[in-house]
Symmetry: C2
Subunit: 153 residues, 2 copies
């Protein structure tokens, strides 16, 4: 790994001032996860958010968009785009909601279910790649800490 003397050498740049800052560490780790996940889902026509939306619809048939927005922690306005894409792909339908005619009951199609199952397996493999080298206790510690930071539990 020789490098020409005139080329940018980043090895002597100190980021110690940022390493004691959890947001910086999380952002950098998440960038790696995001890049691998994007590559994992792209061949199936999904992204992290459309995959997450599809998963929630599959697991919660009849889910309404506003519930989906809450579950994804995003605004209702943004969910419209995700559902549009899933609907255009033929994986999700906007069914009528008899109890509230303002709302829609989101359902996945047979094809949508199949795409989800395939994507889920790929995401599981991605997850194992990301956590490779970490012991079960360490993974549990991370999940606990993330839950605490998120304000759950």
């Amino acid at each position: 790994m020789a490098r020409a003397a005139h080329q940018t050498d980043v090895s002597d740049v100190s980021d110690a001032c940022l390493r004691d800052f959890v947001g910086y560490n999380m952002k950098r780790a998440f960038n790696v996860v995001q890049a691998d996940l994007t590559a994992t889902l792209e061949p199936m026509g999904l992204r992290m958010l459309t995959y997450s939306a599809l998963a929630l619809i599959v697991e919660n048939p009849g889910l309404r968009p506003s519930q989906l927005a809450s579950a994804l922690s995003v605004e209702r306005a943004n969910v419209v785009v995700y559902v549009d894409q899933l609907e255009e792909a033929g994986w999700v339908t906007r069914g009528t909601c008899p109890q509230d005619r303002r709302a829609y009951a989101l359902q996945c199609t047979i094809v949508g279910r199949r795409v989800y199952d395939k994507a889920r397996a790929a995401v599981r493999a991605h997850d194992r790649r990301m956590l490779d080298g970490l012991r079960a206790v360490e993974i549990a510690a991370v999940n606990k800490a993330l839950a605490r930071i998120e304000g759950r539990e």
Copy 2:
């Protein structure tokens, strides 16, 4: 915390299908961190990335933009905008680089140094808020796991 029966109730939405997926947990926790950090830095005219850039310039006087890009894990093109903003605020200067006239030697100004010190204290307080309730060993476990995911260590 009473809620009208007709209002969106998200408590019965299951996201178990996503909770065993580290990217989802990281994203949600990072959203919380990001929101708090944005509110923390906004009064000082900084954002996460401009703060990070300022920190690296303060701690590495004479840093060149391409080194800054590597340290921040972003493309050179994006660094231009961050440095523009820090320069317009009067916190950073693009000094000449005698060894390589294509490059700039980034330096912080006296005011920039003062803004950084103030922001650093605010970020430390933010960090304590985020990690509140976690023991030192747990924080160490998170940082170790994040380093592993990021591919460092």
